[in-house]
């Protein structure tokens, strides 16, 4: 058990008191769609703000915790400690969890947002971002080009990607397009010694593929310069300390030729003068990151001395904008006009070199091109929230239009909030920030709900006969519970998840892993029900 157990008990006690204080009726219901950090932190803020609230949390998977389980890297177990906190929230008597309940159009085994709105005072969409942003470049469909999101989901044992599979034994070079933390996670997993991953909760198939991997070099490319990179200093430092892995920093030059540029390349983004300009207190994070990059860059340029022995290399290459993917085994002539769709296996990525626009915000092509041979390319340019039937969606921004957590009627600036419909987390803000970002976010959304309740404008359960139909724990014909049963959906409650969890830990202990994840949904469902009737 984690050292925070005692504080969890205090919190549980505080909640127990709060709920026992809630004498008399007055219970009101909130349904949260999605059991990631945003779902749990929104629930937490609601529980603290209202003793008589009832919160039902739904997830399309039988298991909770969203990207903490299926995104956070297997070698970052400490980040996953936050699930202890979520477990404390889930055990509050006012909270129900129902996994294996997908919110969609209400057909088949799904339930629609409108059906939820008819049963709850408020519905919070906290369903994250499970789509991919595409580059829309020629050759993107070649074998070997894939999304970092799918790769991460695969090594995390996500049921959706169980069969995806990557044969990493065929080529020695991989390119990651994008320079956020997800890109660095992918680079680290691809280069770290598999033995160091063996005891984590990484999916067994992924570990086996990594053990057979032929990849020796991973080039992580960004369109802009080193001061614009989205990764955090913590992840960068970790990359620089991997056993047997060299980290090189390239400033806008040919990654394949391995040249490193000179001190006056690149308008001196990492020059001492540039760093000195970042002297304000508010610049501290940027300055510290730039200092680390400068140190790594000098080490890469300097190179000399006794060459340390490295098994693998990660290259951070800046000012490189991909313009197309080329198939393997095509001669230079055929390569020239790659307008149409190409089939076959990836052989190289074509890049255009860039420089920063004067305002530093965007990368502008310089008209110089280069071609980097590789067998794998991972797009790591962002996760995308998906549209839900019955909910407005701003397709241009790939986001639900919202203000302070209230879903708006349309993307129009003057649009009014839809009564009783809210959003939180990545579904509200788009895919950025860390677990911590969802705390303030959940608090904001909960505050909007509580304010609307106080003002009497929740107005959910509207469009119905006005009867309070009830959620997961209600007996009535119109309750969500009855609706799900009628459709043949068999929700997994929190106790069911805890049975899966126990099984995973026991199986993990038996095989020397932190835990051994169950991957197939059918297996999860079977385990969840083992103690049932």
């Amino acid at each position: 058990m984690a050292p925070g157990a005692s504080s969890m008990l205090v919190r549980a006690a505080r909640r127990a008191l709060a709920s026992s204080a809630a004498t008399g009726g007055g219970a009101w219901r909130v349904c949260i769609v999605g059991s990631g950090p945003a779902g749990f932190y929104t629930a937490d803020a609601l529980l603290k703000g209202s003793p008589d609230v009832r919160v039902d949390i739904l997830d399309r998977l039988p298991v909770p915790f969203g990207l903490v389980r299926y995104g956070v890297a297997p070698d970052h177990p400490e980040v996953k400690n936050v699930t202890e906190r979520f477990t404390g929230i889930a055990r509050d008597a006012r909270v129900r969890f129902a996994g294996n309940v997908r919110v969609a159009d209400g057909a088949g085994l799904t339930v629609s947002v409108d059906e939820l709105r008819a049963r709850y005072d408020a519905v919070v969409l906290a369903c994250g971002a499970d789509g991919d942003r595409a580059l829309r470049l020629p050759g993107e469909g070649l074998r070997g080009v894939s999304s970092a999101r799918e790769f991460v989901a695969w090594y995390s044992g996500h049921p959706d990607c169980a069969r995806a599979g990557w044969d990493l034994s065929r080529h020695d070079t991989a390119i990651v397009i994008g320079q956020g933390n997800v890109a660095l996670d992918v680079a680290r997993v691809l280069t770290k010694r598999p033995a160091e991953l063996a005891s984590t909760d990484i999916a067994s198939e992924a570990l086996a593929a990594l053990e057979r991997s032929a990849i020796r070099r991973v080039i992580v490319t960004g369109r802009r310069g080193p001061l614009q990179a989205a990764f955090t200093t913590k992840e960068l430092r970790e990359l620089s300390k991997l056993d047997g892995v060299r980290l090189s920093v390239l400033l806008g030059c040919n990654a394949d030729a391995g040249s490193h540029g000179t001190a006056d390349d690149e308008g001196g983004a990492l020059s001492e003068r540039a760093l000195a300009a970042l002297s304000g207190e508010a610049d501290r994070p940027r300055r510290r990151q730039a200092e680390l990059l400068r140190k790594l860059w000098l080490e890469s340029v300097g190179g000399g001395g006794v060459a340390r022995q490295f098994e693998r290399e990660i290259v951070l290459a800046f000012h490189m904008q991909p313009v197309g993917f080329e198939p393997a085994g095509v001669d230079a002539g055929a390569r020239a006009g790659n307008g149409g769709e190409v089939a076959g296996e990836l052989g190289a990525v074509r890049f255009e070199r860039t420089q920063l626009s004067p305002d530093g915000r965007s990368a502008v092509g310089t008209g110089e091109y280069e071609r980097t041979p590789c067998g794998y390319a991972f797009r790591s340019i962002g996760y995308l929230p998906s549209a839900l039937p019955g909910v407005p969606f701003d397709a241009r921004r790939s986001l639900v239009p919202s203000a302070h957590g209230r879903v708006l009627g349309s993307a129009d600036a003057a649009a009014m909030p839809l009564p009783g419909l809210y959003c939180s987390g990545w579904y509200k803000r788009g895919p950025s920030g860390v677990v911590l970002s969802n705390i303030g976010d959940g608090a904001e959304t909960a505050a909007a709900i509580l304010a609307d309740r106080a003002a009497g404008t929740l107005g959910a359960r509207a469009g119905t006969d006005g009867a309070a139909r009830g959620g997961l724990d209600a007996e009535g014909d119109g309750s969500l519970r009855a609706l799900l049963a009628g459709r043949g959906v068999r929700p997994v409650d929190f106790a069911g998840w805890e049975r899966i969890d126990r099984h995973e830990r026991e199986a993990g202990a038996a095989s020397g892993k932190r835990l051994r994840k169950v991957v197939a949904v059918e297996d999860m469902l079977r385990l969840a029900r083992e103690a049932d009737d």
Binding site: S6, V10, R237, E281, R284
Partner: protein, 143 residues
């Protein structure tokens, strides 16, 4: 309130049984007097507490119902235990390691005297320290 107390005590002895911080604290320290420090909440209200020597500020905050998150349970992976210390106390402490600074860089309302509450242990020379909770946690400067 008694329920809280009971659970708190249960939690503490559970911690001791597991051979946690309390159990391995050296004899001399175990005898040290608790140290009076003050948490200053987001709204400016002050909560003076008696902090046992050797505990982290995060643990002390939790034991006194101060709303400090601590999402990663003190393993330097989240920065949700961010506290802003008074300058005098800050200077008494050994400078933070790179790893702590890396996490602080992600914290909202970062100041010169910011520290991670899970990394600072209570010691007698910190008597009188003031620990301010940061203004909020919703804005992220990082992409």
């Amino acid at each position: 309130m008694s329920l809280v107390r009971a659970l708190l005590t249960a939690g503490r002895s559970a911690l001791a049984e597991r051979g946690g911080v309390a159990a391995i604290r050296p004899f001399s320290r175990a005898l040290a007097q608790p140290v009076r420090i003050t948490f200053v909440d987001k709204d400016g209200s002050e909560v003076p507490v008696d902090a046992p020597v050797g505990k982290s500020l995060l643990e002390v905050a939790h034991e006194n119902d101060i709303e400090l998150e601590g999402a990663c349970d003190g393993s330097l992976a989240c920065s949700t235990c961010h506290l802003i210390l008074d300058e005098v106390s800050f200077k008494k402490l050994k400078a933070p390691e790179d790893e702590e600074l890396d996490m602080l860089d992600l914290a909202f309302d970062l100041r010169k005297t910011s520290r991670l509450g899970c990394q600072v242990k209570v010691s007698p020379e910190l008597a009188g320290m003031r620990c301010q909770l940061p203004a909020g946690t919703n804005d992220m400067q990082q992409q």
